[in-house]
């Protein structure tokens, strides 16, 4: 049997993210649809406790340098793809996927769909749903030429199927020899800054987005957070503008949070933000745009202006 679906594990620092198991689960379904095998590719050796049993084949790239260097990963994954020649490559929209999905599709003359949230087989075609425009629109595309690379939004698929125990066939691809010709080297991985506020432990989070408009205005939401004795968290633009420090950031490149209640003010609900908070028990969103994607995941919503609602909330909590 041939490998039809290849999952790329984004385990750069050794730790395997949830999304890898989500991709394995989806990959199982797709490879069964093709009646072919499911493979996973990992940088380095798997731990004996975790051999990725959902896969039929486990490729280990041996000889990889520690850390992350995009040209080295591109070269190494290219060797694995040449050897396995899968019909479908699944990667997440993390840094590895953003770096390499387009490059690999170009190199192997394949098609590519990005921001994927669903993929099903229909006859011999793959029908893929993607989130575009920050989640404001969905697109449905049809893929009938292969190879196809799908770059999948984390959290789109269940991970349980991908976690089954088992022993896939092992293939080691030694990339060490060719890496010296890669046009880059890995220097180091820097651990996250652990100083400052810890927004991951609180049962209630008061979160603010770009809708707040300015650094001065952040104070308004900070007062509410204080009145509610909850930490203040934020979306990425608030951090990038320097309105709050990095440890306050929720999302893909910030913290993953799962509070009992998440209050979102002036946050649109882009996929990268949702990645960090969509599993909160209760999400309450305030956004003047009734079509903001945040309302797709929120349990309660209001289109009131945050500048009218927040002071009222602060008053009522204080009183």
């Amino acid at each position: 049997m041939s490998v039809d679906v290849l999952v790329i594990a984004e385990a750069v620092a050794g730790e395997v993210p949830d999304v890898t198991y989500e991709l394995l689960g989806k990959g199982r379904e797709l490879s069964d649809g093709f009646s072919g095998e499911l493979a996973l590719v990992l940088a380095g050796e798997p731990s004996p406790q975790n051999l990725f049993g959902a896969a039929d084949v486990l490729y280990s790239m041996s000889g990889m340098e520690a850390g992350y260097c995009a040209p080295q990963w591109e070269m190494s994954l290219g060797e694995v793809i040449r050897s396995a020649h899968p019909k479908v490559v699944l990667v997440s929209t993390g840094t590895v996927g953003i770096d390499l999905a387009g490059a690999l599709a170009t190199q192997f003359d394949g098609v590519l769909a990005s921001y994927v949230i669903d993929a099903v087989m229909e006859g011999g075609s793959l029908v893929v749903t993607s989130q575009l425009y920050g989640g404001k629109l969905l697109s449905e595309v049809e893929i009938d030429s292969f190879p196809a690379v799908l770059s999948v939004v984390p959290g789109s698929f269940a991970s349980d199927v991908g976690r089954v125990v088992g022993e896939p066939r092992r293939e080691v691809i030694d990339v060490g020899g060719s890496l010296s010709s890669a046009k880059g080297i890995a220097i180091e991985l820097r651990e996250p800054d652990s100083s400052g506020v810890d927004i991951t432990a609180a049962p209630l989070l008061v979160s603010v987005g770009r809708g707040i408009g300015s650094k001065e205005n952040v104070e308004l939401v900070a007062e509410l957070a204080e009145a509610m004795k909850a930490p203040l968290s934020a979306s990425r633009p608030v951090i990038d503008q320097g309105w709050l420090p990095k440890p306050h950031q929720v999302g893909k490149s910030g913290k993953k949070v799962k509070p009992t209640v998440y209050l979102a003010f002036g946050i649109s609900g882009a996929p990268e933000h949702l990645e960090g908070m969509r599993s909160a028990d209760v999400i309450i969103a305030c956004n003047t745009d009734a079509k903001a994607p945040i309302f797709e995941v929120a349990h309660y919503g209001t289109t009131l202006d945050l500048f009218d609602l927040v002071p009222e909330l602060t008053d009522q909590v204080g009183g």
């Binding site: 995009a70 840094t95 490059a103 425009y133 629109l137 220097i187 009992t260 209001t302 009131l304």
Partner: protein, 256 residues
């Protein structure tokens, strides 16, 4: 150092986005087009590198609605040269694969050390530009970049790997980088300076003809997620009433 920045126009996400009659693209007639926010970060990083190391900064963009405004603003902020690539239909969706081919065709005749572009654009259905462009040009590339330090033959890049982890690597030049955040928030060009750029500056045009387009996915339909039926219970009433309801919900969870 010679830096090229690839910028593009994109429907303003603050606007209502309608789907066209065929159901396969946004209705482009009435939307406002603005420059992609991550491309603005790429331009800022280029201008910062120019301030630090000395560099020439060329900005290149495809012909898209209101692109002249973005290019004149780039001149006003300190870009040395701005180029508009023509040959595409300015009123259709140019997907990333084709965009990369068009840019690569221009870049084949340019010498550059660094090419910077935004990490993504909101309609990147078939991939993010930096990786595709790097692969087409056969030069090293990296995206989700939050730090760039240049030297003569190499560039040191810091990439966000998720969850706060940063990956540091060194790439040979020339290289293509997808910028996530610049060292500082993008500088502002006063209207008077943009006006001046419009009077004294010049947008050079370069026609690109594509012979064979690369493989792209077929779009069946584009639709708003509301039609999937998920969604929030909307709270109605005055700020006072809604605030009271929200506090009730929080209290019911044993909080506040």
């Amino acid at each position: 150092m010679r830096i090229v920045v690839a910028m593009r126009q994109l429907a303003d996400l603050v606007e209502e986005l309608e789907v066209n009659d065929e159901g396969t693209d946004i209705d482009r007639e009435f939307v406002k087009f603005v420059s992609n926010e991550w491309d603005e970060a790429a331009l800022e990083e280029a201008l910062t590198l120019k301030d630090e190391l000395g560099a020439t900064v060329t900005v290149v963009a495809l012909d898209e609605p209101d692109v002249d405004q973005t290019l004149y603003a780039a001149l006003a902020k300190g870009a040395d040269r701005v180029v508009k690539l023509t040959g595409n239909d300015p009123d259709t969706w140019v997907r990333s694969r084709e965009r990369a081919q068009r840019l690569a065709s221009f870049l084949a005749g340019e010498s550059f050390d660094l090419l910077l572009t935004g990490v993504q654009a909101a309609d990147d259905l078939d991939g993010q530009l930096a990786g595709i462009l790097g692969s087409l040009l056969e030069v090293p590339h990296a995206a989700v970049v939050v730090g760039v330090e240049g030297s003569d033959s190499k560039v040191r890049v810091i990439q966000e790997m998720g969850g706060g982890l940063l990956g540091v690597s060194e790439l040979d030049l020339p290289a293509v980088l997808g910028i996530q955040a610049a060292k500082q928030t993008p500088r502002y060009a006063p209207i008077s300076r943009i006006r001046q750029a419009m009077q004294t500056g010049e947008i050079s045009e370069h026609e690109v003809e594509l012979s064979d387009a690369s493989a792209q996915v077929k779009v069946r339909r584009l639709y708003p997620p509301e039609s999937t039926g998920a969604g929030a219970t909307m709270l109605k009433g005055s700020p006072k009433e809604v605030a009271a309801e929200i506090i009730e919900i929080i209290k019911s969870k044993g909080l506040v």
